[in-house]
Amino acid sequence: MKRKINLKNILLVFISLVVLNQTGYAQDEKEEPQQIVRLHYYNVNNNLQYLVLESLLKTGRKIEPVKKKAYRIYLDSVARSNFIAGVLTNEEGKVKAVIPPELKSIWDEKSEHTFIVTSEVAGEEETPTEFNIIKSKIAIDTSNVDGVRNVTATVMKQENNEWVPAGDVELKIGIRRMDNTILSAGEEPTYTTDSDGVATVEFNKINMPGDSHGNLIFTASVSDNDELGNLSVDKTLSWGVPLKDDNSTFGQRTLWSTRFKTPYWLLILAYSISIGVWSTLIYLVFQLVKIKRLSIQRPG
């Protein structure tokens, strides 16, 4: 009896959970879809500036990219003279736009700028979305004193048209990998600038493989900072170990060499199997010939 009651309770709890869960989903489905537009500002090596627009549609807990949607991006005000680009989102709901050189005079005027994103739905203009950034720059320097190798990143921002240190900015300092991710130069994954806008890391990674000259690309990168956006700067330095081609197996009989350098064991294995099977098959063909010959022989 007790067991029955327990099972009943468990069943009730399970059904309640399922119903609650379903109600949750039902509520999600009822929610109005919410359009989300994100704009990321990039400043690479203090000279290439571009924007990445990301368009998303949030329905309940579900977030989906908005594909093939057109947007217009302006600098500071919605005017023809301030037009940056007209863009169309890709399959991931993203699109890149480069700030054109014609807007240099507007860009140089102020320390802070606003990017305005507008779009049209069924011929009607949607409410513009605005994104503010402060003009900033980043520098990377290295030093090698008595074998102690340091990487220093300095972040500056503009205030009233003057460059001042940007303190308390989180950034990554490290080596750029081939897939564009960053291997931290020190022990921590990220570092924070001090009141002078400086962050210094001791580079303690020895025997890092570089290119054929031992070059490593050091990078300092600020990602998605609310005020500064995305900044990155690179510096190439020969602090790595030169990568030498491994020719130790060149001309050897290996699985990856040319067909003239096949390993003997593989040749023996492959040929003995092939010869074994095919000699059996040839024998069987001879048996067929034998059967044929028997038909023209006299009995007895």
Binding site: D179, N180, L255, L266, I291, S295
Partner: protein, 459 residues
């Protein structure tokens, strides 16, 4: 050279000696001689030919414009063609299961199914070879594969082993046909002059002497022994095309066994489907009985369980660890873009046929046929899932490539060629059944006589 004086041991002996047996033998011959297509048969052949023609036109377009007419790009370079190839290789394995393994195990009930299995094997291996050529951008360079091939490459092993398997399958089809040629030639009026000429060309030398039978039986036994390791090789090597490549979903030591178990399953499913179709089309209820469906049904259940076991190994263990390189691929299969297809292959291709065939009623011809169709269709999509999603999950991220490189759905040319090849294989099987007895006549008579002898001894 008086052939009339030859010592004849078989059919004529069997037909002439006991009158009761002669009547039965005549009935068997009458039932099993190749029959002309009826209306339905003609429609079936016409439909298959039409699909083949569309496929041929699509291939002409591919030859003319290049592989750009397909939707295969830098990442998915093995698309529906290679899935189709793996499917054909898989289904061809049935020849070794039904003919060789059953024959060597002295399983007598499989006699009416041996030729069906062998013709499926030969047709499938022919089209497996053709589809590989279709997948080549420059088919005129095929010879270079042999002239400049590296024995280190599993691709060359595959070429060698497919050629060998094809040759063995043809021999295994031909040797047991020899005694039937003698019967076919004798019944000239029923088979027609043209076919008779073909039978004479292929088997007029068969007189049915003891020596001939001795050599033939010995040869068939040797073939049965040889075909098993070669059949295992063909599918293991095909699996190594994938497993020797360092990719999520393919990086497995289990792949050879996984592929072989899947191949046996689809092969057995294919035989069940063919059994039902031939039984209906040629009214062979006396020869392909409910007992055959019962036994083949059980066989399919066993093989489906075996394949499910390997599937669990193949997916559950990587999913348990969820290594970063495997995670995206597995998520795509379990809950992503390929989830509907993945769960379709698991449920329709394995679980549902098992549920149907576990019950005695489910092993009756019709439900067994439905289960067989499910197995075959599920198996075809399963091969697609083995090939494509992995290619869309390379170890290095896809960067700065056109959007269409990141997705794959076959173009109409690819579909037409794939469907054309499947129709071609079916057409080959159909035409074979029109020309040759789909159930071995001589072996059936021999077994009937043995049964009669046993009955008379008991009486």
């Amino acid at each position: 050279m008086n052939t009339e004086n030859l010592k004849i041991s078989t059919v004529e002996n069997l037909i002439t000696t006991p009158p009761k047996s002669k009547a039965k033998s005549d009935e068997i011959i009458r039932d099993l001689l190749p029959q002309k297509f009826g209306r339905q048969g003609m429609i079936w052949v016409a439909v298959l030919t039409a699909i083949c023609c569309v496929g041929a036109f699509a291939y002409y377009r591919q030859l003319k414009h290049g592989l750009v007419v397909t939707n295969m790009r830098d990442y998915v370079s093995w698309g529906i063609y290679i899935s189709n190839f793996v499917f054909f290789v898989a289904i061809s394995l049935v020849g070794s299961l039904i003919t060789a393994i059953f024959r060597l195990s002295n399983v007598k009930w499989s006699t009416p199914l041996t030729r069906i299995a062998e013709i499926i094997a030969v047709s499938a291996i022919v089209f497996a070879s053709l589809i590989i050529i279709v997948d080549m951008g420059r088919p005129e360079r095929l010879l270079n594969l042999f002239l400049h091939g590296r024995i280190q490459s599993p691709i060359l092993w595959d070429v060698i082993v497919i050629g060998t398997y094809f040759f063995i399958s043809v021999l295994l089809l031909y040797f047991p046909l020899l005694p039937d040629f003698k019967i076919l030639i004798r019944f000239k009026e029923k088979t027609g002059k043209k076919l008779n000429r073909l039978y004479r060309f292929q088997g007029s030398f068969w007189k049915g002497t003891k020596e001939q039978f001795k050599i033939s039986d010995k040869s068939i036994n040797i073939l049965c022994i040889t075909i098993i390791p070669v059949a295992f090789c063909i599918h293991t090597v095909t699996s190594w095309l994938f497993a020797t490549t360092y990719r999520p979903g393919w990086d497995s030591t289990n792949f050879g066994a996984y592929f072989i178990s899947g191949a046996f399953l689809v092969g057995a499913g294919g035989v069940v489907v063919a059994m039902y179709m031939f039984r209906r089309a040629y009214r062979l209820e006396k020869y392909i009985t409910d007992m055959h469906f019962e036994k083949m049904g059980r066989m399919v259940v066993l093989l489906a369980f075996l394949y499910l076991y390997f599937n669990i190994n193949e997916y559950l263990i990587p999913a348990f660890k969820m290594k970063k390189m495997e995670a995206h691929h597995l998520t795509e299969l379990f809950a992503g873009e390929y989830a509907p297809l993945f769960w379709f292959t698991i449920f329709i291709g394995m679980i549902l046929p098992v549920i149907i065939l576990l019950f005695k009623k489910g092993r009756k011809p019709k439900p067994a046929f439905i289960a067989g169709v499910m197995v075959v269709v599920g198996a075809w999509f399963k091969r697609y899932l083995i090939v494509t999603p992995t290619l869309l999950n390379p170890l290095l991220p896809m960067q700065n490539v056109p959007e269409n490189f990141k997705h794959y759905f076959p173009s109409w040319e690819e579909w037409a060629i794939a469907m054309g090849s499947l129709s071609g294989a079916l057409l080959l099987i159909t035409l074979f059944a029109r020309i040759y007895p789909i159930i071995p006549i001589h072996e059936t008579i021999e077994e009937q006589n043995k049964t009669d002898e046993k009955i008379s001894l008991v009486e």
